[in-house]
């Protein structure tokens, strides 16, 4: 049976070329397709908004003539197809129009404010991974085979509560505890290292709890596998068993979940930035939606969407490097 499957797999492999390349090719195609959908939706977004973008741009008090002049200036009098193609041209050349409110190129807003958002998200992800993997592994080891039911109950209930706390509430409570009550840390803004502490914790708290739960459950699954029994038959220390034999098998599922969490955290930055007056894109998108600054909204949504798609792509590529079987299975 086994050898037959291997032979068949080898034959199929020769017929279709390198499965890694095939997988990467398909994954890249999917990425591009998603980007096309994203750009199209961002374009349609402004078309679907009730009200007149030209009026929004020219201002409430502008004369009808001024609004019409503005319409022609923005190219809104052109047929939809022409506008769509122009939009694509803009996306590809980095010219996404000017902000209605500040009259500066939208791309400048993106380049000045995006680093703050990315910094926040990446730091938070680092915290999530650095905390969740060892803690989840430790609790998985402690509660394996129904050991320590008290610890297990405590861990499950506390982590469930923490995982439910949304980042904006975590942010508010943290501000109250550490900035209002004891005034150890700055309330808002982005300056020295201390100003990063509260926003990063607020963003990382819930995902950390969620990932810790998953790592613990995965640890139990891995510990039940036959190959762990084989490893134990080699009489090694518990530390080596967990580091060398359990941990690598956790990475696939942990990374997959981390990719999803990171996508969610990109969205979470919007809320956290608004609490801590963080000078990123999250505070900008809210004000630009409320101020009907459509080019800016469009650009920021494009940025967030592309960031999420890129994260998914990177996670998938890391996954096949860590665990080549996934690529073989998928191809």
């Amino acid at each position: 049976m086994a050898s037959t499957t291997t032979v068949l797999a080898l034959a199929a492999q020769q017929r279709r070329g390198n499965p890694w390349l095939r997988y990467l090719g398909r994954r890249a195609m999917y990425f591009v397709a998603s980007l096309v959908v994203l750009v199209t939706l961002a374009f349609l977004l402004v078309q679907l908004i009730p009200g007149d973008p030209a009026r929004a741009s020219a201002g409430e008090l502008a004369t009808p003539e001024a609004v019409e002049a503005r319409r022609i200036e923005l190219g809104l009098d052109q047929p939809l197809v022409v506008q769509y193609l122009r939009f694509w041209g803009g996306v590809l050349t980095g010219n996404l129009g000017d902000s209605f409110t500040s009259r500066t190129p939208v791309i400048d807003v993106l380049t000045t404010r995006a680093p703050a958002t990315l910094e926040l998200a990446l730091l938070a992800v680092a915290v999530v991974l650095v905390v969740a993997i060892p803690v989840g592994l430790a609790f998985g080891a402690l509660t394996r085979g129904q050991r320590r039911p008290g610890t297990e109950a405590g861990f499950t209930s506390i982590s469930a509560v923490v995982a439910v706390i949304p980042e904006f509430l975590a942010g508010i409570v943290l501000v109250y505890l550490f900035a209002v009550n004891v005034q150890w840390l700055p309330v808002a803004g982005r300056s020295d290292a201390a100003s990063y502490v509260l926003p990063v914790i607020a963003l990382a708290l819930g995902p950390t709890a969620a990932l810790t739960r998953i790592v613990r459950a995965e640890t139990h699954t891995v510990l039940e596998q036959d190959y762990i029994r084989t490893a134990r038959s080699r009489r090694m220390s518990a530390a080596r068993l967990y580091r060398r034999h359990v941990l690598p098998n956790l990475l696939t599922s942990t990374l997959t979940i981390s990719g999803l969490l990171l996508g969610g955290m990109i969205a979470g930055t919007v809320l956290v930035e608004n609490i801590f007056a963080w000078p990123g894109l999250g505070s900008t998108i809210v004000s630009s939606i409320q101020g009907q600054d459509f080019p800016l909204v469009q650009a920021i949504i494009l940025f967030y969407g592309a960031a999420v798609l890129l994260i998914n792509l990177v996670v998938d590529v890391i996954l096949i490097v860590v665990d080549p079987r996934t690529a073989l299975d998928a191809a």
Partner: protein, 617 residues
Amino acid sequence: MSRTTRRVLAVLRSPVGILAVVACLTLAFLAIFAPIVWGAAAAVTDTEQLSQPPSAEHVFGTDGSGRDILLRTLVATRLSVVMALTATLAGVVCGVVLGLLPLMLGGRAGRLIVAAINIGVAFPSLLLAIAFSVILGQSGTAATLAIAIAMIPSYGRLTHNLAASVWGRDFVSAARVLGVPDWRTVLRHVLPNVRDPLLVNAAITAGTALLAFAGLSFLGLGIQVPEYDWGRMLNEGVTRIFVTPAAALVPGAAIILAGLTFVLLGEVLGQALTPSTRRRVPRAMRRAQRTSEAPADATAVDEDAVLSVRDLHVSAPGADGQWQPLVHGISFDVARGEIVGVVGESGSGKSVTLMAIAGLLDAPLRVGAAGARFDGEPLAMTTDARASSVDHRLGQRLAIVFQDPMSSLNPALSVGSQVAEPGILHLGMSRSEAKAAAIERLRAVRIPDAERRYGQYPHEYSGGMRQRAMIATGLMGTPALILADEPTTALDVTVQAEILAQLRQVNEEHGTSIVLVSHDIAVVTSLCSRVLVMYRGRLVEDVRSSDLKAGRATHPYTRALLATVPTMSTPRGEPMASIPDDADFTAGAAEVEVVRAADDPALVETFGETALAEGAS
């Protein structure tokens, strides 16, 4: 009372169940009655009492407009919960329809929908909700719609995955073959089978929707003044957090409690709807696990044997809170250089015995023995005692070959590094020395191109090669004993013989003793000098292979086992002999000398008198 009803009642009576019911009822009660009872009082703006701290009159104080924070929080329950539920209902219904459509439509349209769902899922729902709120404007209704739309892709994907797995099952194929239209099959056969997990997820999704709402309103993109939900209250409260922290913290607490209520509801639904396979071990039994089962009595142990076991017991916690014995006090010895076979039907305790000796049984099982010696030194016989500690003696002298080579090698590590590991662990080898030694051992078990194979992963090996690698791992040290647990069961017949020959070669070259567990009596008699026969956790016969081949087995079970082995003279066309499930040989153990198989009615009925007479002669 049906099984499901009983399970639901049991879950509802558990602490978590009671908590979930109380929390849901409270939430429902507040959503219905709070606006009626306190609606007017919550709207009163008291200009005398702006931003007051908690007092007798205002339990949590007042906000910036002098309104009671607690009353406003209670009244806001309705809007917050109703919007979340509305969005969930709309999102879930659309998601289910979208998830089922690909099956009903099939073909290109179906694939297109699946692709669309997959792209939608890539984007976090809060981002989608924000994007849609741009189009829909900023109001409660718009936010409801935005959140509903944002949850469609993920719910659609869930539905599609669940439904697609049911779609492949036999009863669905049968319905389709019979010409039932696909849409009918989906509604009648698929939907009822995916309903339970969808319900559980709907409860959790409602919690997520509630949090998403709070988030949108908090950003100022949801509910607008003068209406208020918890998120809107947060939005107003957070700017004044230095003056009246309660204005932000109280609605914040309400959001978390409501969110937890939905999570709890999902948890309880999940427990009630899916039969649990996990059984908890009662506390008293867990304590008993740590004590050894049999009284120590090491006197009877054979000092010269490579392995000597006296009165080995293994038990598992049963459903009724009693210990169910898996191995009932067996004793045996293995001499140096000897190959001993252990046979018996599945569940007779052969593998459990082997794993107990290897020290690889883990809680919740319980292990104990009156005495055990391995290679001249005592062997601790408890669960966990040797599981994860460095033990150079066992690491070098005891090798184990496991049943299924597919699952017994770590898929994340190269085969070579697993073979080399004992060298690094127990023989003080450096990494490169261990590698060289491992390649040499791989060559010794006839793995071709060992240098290249060293770096390959288990999935690149065939089953027989993996088992060879496993033997090579055992040969890194100088094993006195190899415990082989059905080493050939999972392999092709042609490979089986090679692996057995390999084991025999090791035995001949190094004088290594082998205990070979197998349910294949032919394999055992060909390789082993002695055979232990196990039946229902007991050792019923300890017999020389030559005696067994000559038909001199004494126990009726052994003879029955022999009679099931087809030979060249077995008549074709007739059903193969087998031991019936309800045949009971336990009584035979005491009457080994007198009971002849032909006298056993259960056996006569199964095999016929002649077959038994032949087996006995």
